[in-house]
Symmetry: C2
Subunit: 389 residues, 2 copies
Amino acid sequence: MTSTPPDLTFPQGFQAAAMAAGIKPSGRTDLSLVTSSHDCVWAFAGTRSTTAAACVTRNRALAGTGAPVRALLVNAGNANAATGEGGARDNAGMADAAGSVLNVPAEAVLTASTGIIGHRLPMDRVLSGVEHLPDELGHAAAPFAQAIMTTDTHPKTAHATLSTGARLVGTAKGSGMIHPDMATMFAFVFTDAQVGQAALRAAFPGVVARTFNAVTVDGDTSTNDMAAVLANGLAGPVDEAEFLSALEGVMRDLARQIAADGEGATKLLTVKVRGARSEAEALTAARTCCVSPLLKSAVHGNDPNWGRVIMAVGRSGAAVHIEAMTVAVQGQPVFAGQPLAYDAAQVSESMKAQEVVFDVNLGVGDATGEAWGCDLSAEYVSINADYTT
Amino acid sequence: MTSTPPDLTFPQGFQAAAMAAGIKPSGRTDLSLVTSSHDCVWAFAGTRSTTAAACVTRNRALAGTGAPVRALLVNAGNANAATGEGGARDNAGMADAAGSVLNVPAEAVLTASTGIIGHRLPMDRVLSGVEHLPDELGHAAAPFAQAIMTTDTHPKTAHATLSTGARLVGTAKGSGMIHPDMATMFAFVFTDAQVGQAALRAAFPGVVARTFNAVTVDGDTSTNDMAAVLANGLAGPVDEAEFLSALEGVMRDLARQIAADGEGATKLLTVKVRGARSEAEALTAARTCCVSPLLKSAVHGNDPNWGRVIMAVGRSGAAVHIEAMTVAVQGQPVFAGQPLAYDAAQVSESMKAQEVVFDVNLGVGDATGEAWGCDLSAEYVSINADYTT
């Protein structure tokens, strides 16, 4: 995992601005804009929630047209979800305002909102902020990565440079410690690589499945989750395989950062599954382990309680041949069709690390998958037990 | 919910015995037997886990034969799951021993094990216990209800008497506070009503879906969950509708007791969903709310954070028409297509009750469903963070 270098800049043609528009009570930056000097091909993935927020619904509709985009407007501190038709109008109003001030069609502006559910946006503040943002545009990535945060404890960025010099810069937000309704994941990747939209969109769902959809903090899917990649082509043609590999690397890095910074988390939980019937089943088994409160609690307490892996894999529904199944904790084999003898105190000691890794072989096929989560701490409960009142 | 009357007896023909065989380190009763003087028709539901324990696999196979049963042998303190072929032999050995001492076929003996996963049973203690149990048979229900517990804080029973005098006595176990691997649910209902096996088995899955499968403590499905009803017919014919209604009432009562006694729980969480497209979707939406760590944490903190209901319903996948959707907390409407004004402090005060009820209308159909869970407390984490080491 990489931290955010203070001097990280966006790829050619991209600029960003951020400001404190007064949406967050804390007074932190909460409204931000990314623009591209040229049209971007793009790919989008939004939450599967049936109560998706207006920004997700609108972006998904825009993706359906295939038209290029030029800008992304993000607010933090308010999810604009479950806000009815008025909320949908507010969302459209954000895009209209940004399109107008940037002199591009409203349909070329993507929107993203994150924060508490069920409150209308303070549109006067949002709209006056949008008027102001273009004056602040610059090349630095950090202000944008900072302004999209809600309860994250630090900004999350990842980047890669291809052999042609084309660059990818990704930013993401997860969930943190102050506003517990904001278990909202955003990931945006910007690149000056010249890639085809069709190829990008064909590859994107698989990349999302192996990266952001393999992350879990608490199993609670937000109404506002979204991931998008925008490519403006200014760096010219690139090898498609090299590009997609770099894209997956950037998104994987961001995904792990989100898991490690989960609410109340003290360590990263990684579950690597092999021997599955399909990649989808491998990912389901791995993610079910990462979401299990019992396994997460055991990881918190450095308890090599591998029976909870057996349980979680079993409830995931993935096909398993238990006689051929194996489990290892921090590299120590603990189960191979039957319980193995091991030094529990030694393994417990090895779990006092920044990352705890379980390796699981389902014994039924060749497919693999990996998922990331975090431990469950009493801090998670106290963060989330008392917020709106 | 009913508590266990100390003088509760089993229906005619049923007797039970319990003893401390030395499986639990605590020295509490851990081996128990229920017998019927006559053949029982029966219905069974076992965990859907793909890593189901030997007892579940064996009972399911027996159910497939349609043959009657005469006894149920239960051990607590050890799940006999993920124990390989040796574990399966141990399970068969339990039934063989009980059949032999009771002079009934081994195939007429159901088995159930609950406790830690991944450890072989101490078969010498189990087998000598089985030799001893028939000497202890009596009519009281409490010793059996006590002996099947693991980390439950109290025994769970429920009972009903039909107009003909036929009785139903149900017992269940959930999960409690000492052995966190034992998130295992058992429910056994015994009746002297004379009912047809075909009708019983036709109705049982629906009853289980609306009762035990609507309970969640932490979303972690055990390898050993099972529910069974045994009817020996000694009280003669009954009205089928009356019987099934009583059966559902007993199982619902037990289900709510399991939820209220979840690990670390301080209160019962009830989510009632109506306006769903189907009963299955209503139950899924309700249960997803009850398993949400964010909603459970809010309930723990008396926080009327209804946005988390919107989130949980959305991630459940149930069809919803958000413009027609409504949410109420403890009877107070808080959302009706858009946020409603309400006195948050007053609602928070009303949540300081033994039971917190959310009423949700999905606005798309006529189906209803109800699910039960509990709040998430820091105690849950401490219970489960440090066990095997």
